[in-house]
Amino acid sequence: MARVISMRKAINEALFQVMEEDPTVILLGEDIAGGEGSPGESDAWGGDMGITKGLQPRFGKERVMDTPISESAIMGTAVGAATCGLRPIAELMFVDFMGVCFDQIMNQAAKFRYMFGGKAETPVVIRTQIGAGYRGAAQHSQCLYPMFAHVPGIKCVIPSSAYDTKGLLIQAVRDNDPVIFFEHKFMYDQVSDDVPEEMYAVPFGEANIVREGGDVTIVAIAWMVHQAKAAAEILAGEGIECQIVDPRTISPLDEDTIIECVEETGRLVVVDEAYPRCNMGTDISALVAREAFGALKAPIQVVSPPHVPVPFAPELEDAFIPSPEKIAEAVRKTMNYK
């Protein structure tokens, strides 16, 4: 039965349930229990954000492993274990740290199925945090998911609700390919909604239409879905009805739904918190320009941060993040185009 829980709780519950269901699921990451080798209680932390709290006491140190501070060791272990029959879930704290272990992801895990003639499977899940708004400064605040969507052989999942978070994480663990599961750190406690207690899987490549509206399609990802909802409320007061589409997974991308939605409304605004060059905003714009040009009543608008590192000064960080006001302004631009 469904009840309202936060995204934080949804992740924790999904991890509990997949570990109960499948003994081949293991967890590894830095401080996901409590700092191996240090004095004090063994489940003191549950990860830097407390997401994995309670898992080591339940499933033991064999299945919930605190690792050394070595991203390449975590990733090499996880990818290797996945090729040998386990289903590891590696926590890589912040996506900003992926550079340290990128080869293991983009050249190893992503390529095995292809290079071994379809005979190798690598069912690894990499959980990692994205996003600004947490006063985390330039090295802990980025949305680097476009870099991973760029590489064939990796599935990229970015939930925006607690319901989707649980169902997509369960699907990620059951999937037989490498999946990167991007969690917007600002949303852990900010976002709560109805989540069934039972296990369920939300399929990849199926966008969610978050809000109905006939005037303009807004495609938004992660926290930007909520910023777009706030913008839609402002615009509803002006008589502008926004349809909001959340792709949920950017690789695979539900191109059909995006194209069909723009064909209905004739206007597109894409909101992406990732840096503007080669982000999903440009990718989805190109898709629609290519496939639905005839349906467009106005030029496509993209709302993204400026092409600068995420600032640490709170005022600048707030200005960096696409706001409901900026999204509303982009929508008005498409409405007023003549």
Partner: protein, 372 residues
């Protein structure tokens, strides 16, 4: 709150457990209009569905409390109906003194708390609306849940105690259905009959739930007060096999939407949120396997395996059959297959007349139960 029999409040209804608020989308009557029971007063929509609200008594529409576009919580005051001997001051006092009564439940606003009955290791979820009167048990169809009755539960609860259950494999009940045979489903109804405790239970079954109700009535002579079958299975072999197999297979919105539209005479009733709810229920582990098992057992190769029409003589209860004239799932021609039953064909309704023509169906059920 002062209760005054001369003043009737029209309030935001609760259509299904998830509904917390409703928005007024239009008025059918001006203030001062004479209103008779059953007249359409206004349109209300929830996030999932829209429907018309009808007057429950006679009088004059004295006050339209909520303007078009207003959103109110379930139980919020929409309109006041009273005769003209009630003064404007009394109406003002009623409106200003009106208190929304919230009923505690599992976290949503208002509505009954779901309960569970145990049978052979399975948990059967049900809710009860209305504490007084004879029990009515509502049994949904294949792939459905208690939301199928969202427009009926409150209306029928005026004079009866309404038990809405969810069959195994459906809604919040256990997902295991064994081999998918009818026994597993009838057991669930029997478990709720035991809870209801009365020896005079009225069964209302829709589609597959109709076949279940019919079988329970055959198995329990003397215990059933009346039987209302709405577009029931079990009265002929023909059924829309593409719908059944498509529903079992559907994983995505694109696949589900055209299927859901086949259920209604007016396909525009099917909202995105309704499609999403169907997909959400199918995504729960075990549901697709349960549906496949039931379909394999009851609707193998696109035809119904169970035909109870020949057993009409074995029934000892009054039976009415309600069927939408535009049913695209089970042909309305099967309505005549059960000898002795009174038959009501409903124009402008498809396979879901209790949703599409709720007021008409509610009247038929309430009247039939009262006479039985």
């Amino acid at each position: 709150m002062m209760s005054d029999e001369r003043i009737q409040a029209i309030t935001v209804p609760k259509w299904g457990m998830a509904m917390e608020e409703g928005t007024v989308t239009g008025w059918h009557l001006e203030e001062g209009a004479t209103v008779a029971e059953g007249d359409e007063v206004l349109d209300v929509e929830s996030t999932k569905i829209a429907n018309v609200i009808e007057a429950k008594g006679n009088g004059i529409l004295r006050r339209r409390v909520a303007a078009e576009g207003t959103t109110l919580p379930v139980g919020g005051l929409l309109a006041v109906i009273a005769s003209d001997d009630v003064s404007d001051e009394e109406i003002d006092g009623f409106v200003s003194g009106f208190v929304v009564v919230a009923v505690a439940d599992d976290g949503g606003a208002g509505g009954p708390v779901p309960r569970f009955a145990d049978v052979n290791g399975r948990q059967i979820r049900y809710v009860v609306n209305g504490e007084d009167g004879e029990p009515i048990i509502l049994i949904h169809g294949f792939g459905g849940d208690m939301n199928a009755w969202m427009f009926n539960q409150d209306a029928l609860a005026a004079d009866c105690s309404v038990y809405t259950l969810e069959l195994p494999g459906h809604g919040g009940s256990s997902k295991d259905v064994g081999d998918g045979s009818l026994d597993v489903l009838t057991e669930a109804v029997e478990a709720v009959m035991d809870v209801a405790g009365a020896d005079h239970v009225h069964l209302v079954g829709h589609s597959l739930g109709g076949a279940v109700a019919l079988q329970v009535a055959l198995d329990h002579p003397g215990k059933i007060g009346s039987l209302t079958l709405i577009a029931p299975a079990g009265l002929g072999s023909e059924i829309n096999g593409d719908y059944i197999s498509g529903f079992v297979a559907a994983q995505r919105r694109k696949e589900m939407k055209p299927l859901a539209q086949q259920l209604f005479a007016d396909p525009s009733i099917v909202s995105r949120s309704m499609v999403e709810d169907l997909l959400k229920s199918k995504r729960i582990d075990g549901v697709d396997a349960a549906l496949a098992a039931i379909a394999g057992c009851q609707f193998a190769d696109g035809a119904q395996t169970l035909d109870l029409a020949a057993r009409a003589d074995d029934l000892d209860v009054p039976v009415q059959i309600i069927w939408g004239s535009d049913d695209a799932i089970i042909p309305v021609s099967q309505a005549d297959n059960l000898a002795g039953a009174s038959v009501h064909r409903i124009d402008g309704a498809g396979h879901m007349p209790m949703m599409e023509k709720a007021a008409e169906v509610n009247d038929l059920i309430a009247g039939f139960v009262a006479r039985a």
